[in-house]
Amino acid sequence: MRAKYLILGLLFQISCFSQNKEVLYNFTSIPQSLLVNPGADVSYKYYFGVPVLSGVSVNLGSSSFSVYDLFADNGIDFNDKVRNIVNKSSRNDKVVTNQQLEVFSGGFRVGGRESRSYVSFGVYQEFDFFMYMPKDMALLALDGNKNYIGKVFHLDDLNVKAEVLSVFHVGFHKKMNDKLVLGGRAKLYSSGANAVSTHNSGYIFTGQQPGTVNLYNQIISSNLELKTSGISRFTKDEYEGNIARDIAHNTFFNGSLGLGVDAGVTYYPKENFQVTASIIDLGFINQSKDIETLTYKGTYQYQGANPDFSGTNDPENVFAEFKKAIPRDTLYNKYTTWRPTKIYASLQYSFGYFRSDNDCNCKEKIKERYRNAAGIQFFGMTAPREPLVAVTAFYKRNIFEKLDLKATYTIDEFSSTNIGLGLSGTIWKLNMYALVNNVLEYKDISKASSAAFQLGINFVFQDSED
């Protein structure tokens, strides 16, 4: 029963979540765009997010199958569906899950009315999950080795990491002049639970070699390692508590600590031409609370029973031999994990003058003088094997003075038809935004290879509204 859910869980990993926030990036009427570029050209007198509602984001998707493929009520045997998915997947299919929830956030301008320096701060909770498809392990679980004599099952297909953390951050950005905005953010990470198993190697092999004493040559060479922090006490029999509540408590109050920085820049070579770039989560966490590392390292060649008729008696026990050859070791060393670092960059061309109903507010924002903007964005993120990358083309339009629309078209590993839409509107001082991607798939969400949404509510106060 447990094995079944474990295996199903392994398969589920293929549902992929990407961390790319292509719709939010450089959507400067939303204060949260400072979280993907601390040097974004955002201005305010002060703002604060509605607690817990200011920023909710969840991304989900899949590079090789959809929820529909697995759970469609179409009469096809479930086991056939699972087998089809495993067969058509590759070991480089991945799940990248990211969920963020802002607990609180706010910002204010420092200095007087003429100042163009801004501080922003907040706390958010984040969940990250990254896993490659353990294809060889899935094949072994589904089929066994009978039809794979001579095949090497690679243990390095097992590659997963997960973390629940809270992030306390303070950022500062300053408009140096009309052409340049610079910003940075310091982050204190508090990790409530972490699990990493990304440096595995080894193989399981069954082959036939004529002329040997055995029918099969069977070798398990294992170099497996699982590091955990904040988890091991839940696995003990004597633990009697609420895991979710304890992880939440550790995440905010008793986590492993780490430090990180974000940095970003916005530059206008010309009035209607903008270049931006940012690096997010360049940081580490020193995993130090409730740490446990499990290893299975060694090589075992399975021969089978070998009776000895000469009368000597050397008792052998397959399990004892196996455990001796590939022992389970538990270590309690601190370890360091690196945050998944994201890089964004964009080029934007603006056109079409905006005719404001209000009197000219000359000293604010160059961008608002244009009604349309179009350009391209680049996204990259570090990952255990190869970085994830995405390219986005976008169009922004200022529909009304306080209603902005952004449409994106993104190509990445998960989809080449990913169209995103975002709206940010301000009513009185209430800024509301809703961003979704992969809208084409919304006609049947269960067939979507990926989906993401972000939404939030902020109170934003500008000078003109004094």
């Binding site: 469609a72 045997d77 479930f78 004599i149 029918l215 089978g304 008729f309 008792p315 397959v318």
Partner: protein
């Protein structure tokens, strides 16, 4: 007027997102249908006895040994076992015939079942025999689940005497094919 307009656009947007997003009929209870049926092949037992270790006059002779073999007794395997097959291959290049008995023994060393392999004497031509597959299913599978040790009795039938200069070997190679059926209970 403008506020109204923004309001309605926002409303339409939110409603559109919620309602445009349809979903095909899904049935998550299908998880309960998940049944894994992997088939694993592994070595079972092997030996290679040179003729000169079987020094014997022309009469019959018996050698015996047993080995620990409790893998099918392990709880995590027992629960999911559906069928087990033994495949045995014997090559005899000794000028004597043999009968090899494979014994499955329980923890009290009582014989649960005996499988016999008749091996003809070597006559100069290739002498490799693949024996019919032994299938353990249903009642017979229960015997396997009680097995603690595997024993081999090699019985040499009468024929030419052997001494330390005799040539040839008696080789046994064997494998198990284990059929699992893993599903929710």
């Amino acid at each position: 007027m403008k506020l109204n307009c923004i309001n309605s656009i926002l409303k339409i947007f939110v409603v559109a997102i919620l309602f445009l997003s349809c979903s095909s009929d899904l049935d998550f209870d299908q998880v309960n249908d998940l049944k894994l049926e992997p088939i694993f092949i592994a070595n079972l037992a092997y030996f290679d006895i040179p003729a000169n270790e079987l020094v014997a006059d022309g009469g019959t002779q018996i050698v015996y040994d047993s080995r620990n073999f409790d893998i099918f007794k392990k709880q995590f395997l027992r629960d999911y076992l559906k069928k087990v097959e033994f495949d045995v291959e014997i090559e005899n290049t000794i000028e004597r015939g043999f009968v090899i008995n494979m014994l499955l023994l329980n923890s009290k060393n009582e014989i649960l079942t005996t499988i016999s392999f008749v091996v003809p004497a070597y006559k100069g031509s290739p002498n490799v025999i693949k024996y019919p597959t032994e299938v353990f299913e249903n009642q017979r599978l229960e015997l396997l689940k009680q097995t603690q040790n595997i024993g081999f009795v090699a019985l040499m039938t009468s024929g030419v005497p052997l001494d330390e200069n005799s040539l040839g070997n008696l080789k046994l190679r064997s494998s198990t094919t284990t059929y699992f059926e893993i599903e929710a209970k």
